[in-house]
């Protein structure tokens, strides 16, 4: 017994080292499940406030390009507004009827306060949170196209997966043929993502448009994702390997919209009833 005690005292540094490493690895495993890490991410108050105040400095440098984008988007919206049968404006959001589907979507404008593109799993921190109506599983889009999806919200900030995250993929389809497949990022280049699940009989060409499909309740149908950059036909396989050039420049994200599908709960309830 005394021998054991002496051994423990002599090697306490090694034991402490082991303990801390076990703790770290437990954190790595548990963060993957995303349920318990409510506060331990960059949408918590302290971290987000620091990011928020410092992003204000950097914002001045992108004002010109943000202005250009806004002007272009305004022009597009003006040309669309005549077609919209129903529009309502609330302090934070605009309720509008998406032109293609029947669901109602709500758009909440938000500022990107932190964003990475070079990690293996990239995240976006936004300056809108629960009190603005943001909830997990809402889509994030910019005027160029799909950006990501919200996973955590705090009182006034939220954290999302960007498309450049291996843990999440959008449901995409080819605009021409309507064939759909999952979009996934392989962790290497922030300009490209991979589209799989498109069988060989579908005709496609470099430059074809890839948009969001109607099979997810996160995004409205037909939001721009990117264009086909290269097509490969791996031997012994039935599906193309398609590299998609993303429409959004993730290195220069500034303002985005968070999309809420107002009929999502109804849809989920119906689907759950049938599956059970």
């Amino acid at each position: 017994m005394r021998g054991l005690l002496r051994f423990l005292l002599k090697n306490y540094a090694f034991l402490l080292f082991l303990l801390l490493e076990v703790l770290s690895f437990t954190l790595i495993y548990n963060f993957n499940s995303y349920q318990r890490s409510k506060y331990l991410n960059s949408s918590n108050k302290v971290t987000a406030t620091i990011y928020n105040s410092f992003s204000a400095v950097g914002n001045y440098f992108s004002l010109a390009s943000v202005n250009r984008k806004l002007a272009r988007e305004n022009a597009q919206l003006k040309s669309l507004i005549a077609d919209l049968p129903f529009i309502r404006i609330t302090p934070y959001s605009i309720v509008s009827k998406a032109e293609i589907t029947d669901s109602l979507y709500r758009f909440i404008s938000a500022k990107v306060i932190n964003n990475s593109v070079d990690k293996q799993d990239n995240y976006i921190t936004l300056n809108k949170g629960r009190k603005h109506g943001v909830k997990p599983d809402q889509g994030i889009v910019s005027s160029d196209g799909v950006v990501g999806v919200v996973i955590h919200v705090s009182e006034s900030f939220s954290l999302g997966f960007s498309v450049l995250n291996k843990r999440w993929g959008a449901s995409a389809k080819l605009k021409n043929s309507g064939t759909f497949g999952p979009l996934a990022w392989d962790g290497s280049d922030s300009r490209y993502a991979n589209l799989s699940g498109i069988p060989f009989h579908v005709e496609l060409a470099v430059g074809d448009t890839v948009v969001t499909s109607s099979y997810s309740s996160v995004f409205p149908e037909g939001i721009m994702i990117g264009t086909v950059h290269s097509i490969e036909m791996p031997p012994g396989d039935n599906y193309y390997q398609i590299q998609v050039e993303l429409a959004v420049n993730f290195r220069a994200l500034s303002y985005v919209d968070i999309v809420e599908n107002l009929k999502k709960d109804e849809l989920k309830a119906l689907e759950n009833r049938i599956i059970k």
């Binding site: 306490y12 490493e21 437990t26 971290t47 293996q120 799993d121």
Partner: protein, 167 residues
């Protein structure tokens, strides 16, 4: 004593801020991800109790993890180099040398300091990048990222000794 505590507290906070607000935002095609915050672990006095070095390293890594949404990855890598620190120092030091308690650039030879920093940064980045990717697929690509980022981190850390920590 109070002065030293205060100095390390300021260093801790400023390294965290510099890391998350500047170096985490550096983006050169995914190959340069410099992590300079481990300078804190590198510069702790050699006489610091080992438990304190380990716990401080864990807290430092944990805070960086929260900022970069990578819970556990930085903590694991930083605790690892905190444990290996004395071993690294033993390997690169000659027995005859009088060792200063403070492992800074001006208290030691340049070549000693550079190799100390290089060992620590390489160990840290190796563990960190492979934990982050979480696979040995694309082994060489990841190794390439480790080497480029380590070079960058080493240069920044050594230069910082000339510019900021001049006492």
């Amino acid at each position: 004593m109070i002065r030293i505590l205060f100095k390390y507290l300021v260093m801790f906070l400023s390294l965290v801020l510099v890391q998350v607000l500047i170096f985490n935002q550096v983006q050169f095609g995914g190959f340069f991800n410099p992590y300079v915050y481990i300078l804190f672990v590198i510069l702790l006095p050699l006489s610091t109790p080992r438990y304190l070095v380990l716990i401080l390293a864990f807290v430092l890594g944990f805070i960086i993890d929260i900022f970069s949404n990578s819970l556990g990855v930085h903590s694991a890598a930083t605790v690892f180099i905190a444990y290996m620190r004395l071993l690294v120092i033993r390997i690169i030091s000659n027995r005859e040398d009088d060792k200063s308690d403070y492992p800074g650039l001006h208290q030691n030879k340049l070549i000693w300091f550079v190799s100390y920093v290089a060992f620590m940064v390489l160990l840290h980045h190796l563990l960190l990048f492979y934990l982050e990717v979480y696979t040995f697929a694309n082994f060489l690509t990841t190794l390439f990222r480790v080497i480029l980022s380590s070079l960058f981190s080493i240069i920044v850390i050594v230069l910082s000794q000339f510019l900021v920590f001049r006492d």
